[in-house]
Symmetry: C2
Subunit: 88 residues, 2 copies
């Protein structure tokens, strides 16, 4: 099972469940990724997992970056976030 | 001058200007903070400052947390982000 959870527009609990499922499938590390407006949902997901569901999981790192994407109006920049969660 | 830029609902360039102004006023470190939906704007602000305005400034750390806030419907959790920018 790929250990990346890419955050989209679904309710945050969908992604919390996806992360919890991956840790229960014995992944030692799960990476939560998002771009643009979904960044808030990625932070929510990581915070809810760590605070409410898996106390033995910690945030190893949070990094931000910029992706270049093609839009109808030509190339554009979009912010990205990557949150690495690991079993402590 | 306090070196914290708290992100609200204004256009992102307002906050980019605030950060650039603080570095030009000889602050060695500027902390970009946001909660909830403004988290995306905080990431955008940091990325634009580092990529387009101040190449000598780097992201020292990005951390997320949860604040407990009072709402009309009682206490609630809100995600927070803190991005520390420093002159390299």
């Amino acid at each position: 099972m790929d250990n990346i959870v890419l955050i989209g527009n679904k309710p945050v609990m969908n992604y919390v469940l996806a992360v919890v499922t991956q840790f229960n499938a014995d992944n030692a590390e799960v990476i939560v990724k998002a771009r643009g407006k979904a960044i808030v949902r990625a932070v929510d997901t990581a915070e809810i997992v760590v605070r409410q569901f898996l106390p033995n999981v910690v945030k190893q790192s949070v990094t931000t970056s910029t992706d270049r994407i093609e839009t109808d109006n030509g190339p554009s920049n979009v912010s990205c976030i990557e949150i690495i969660l690991i079993k402590s």
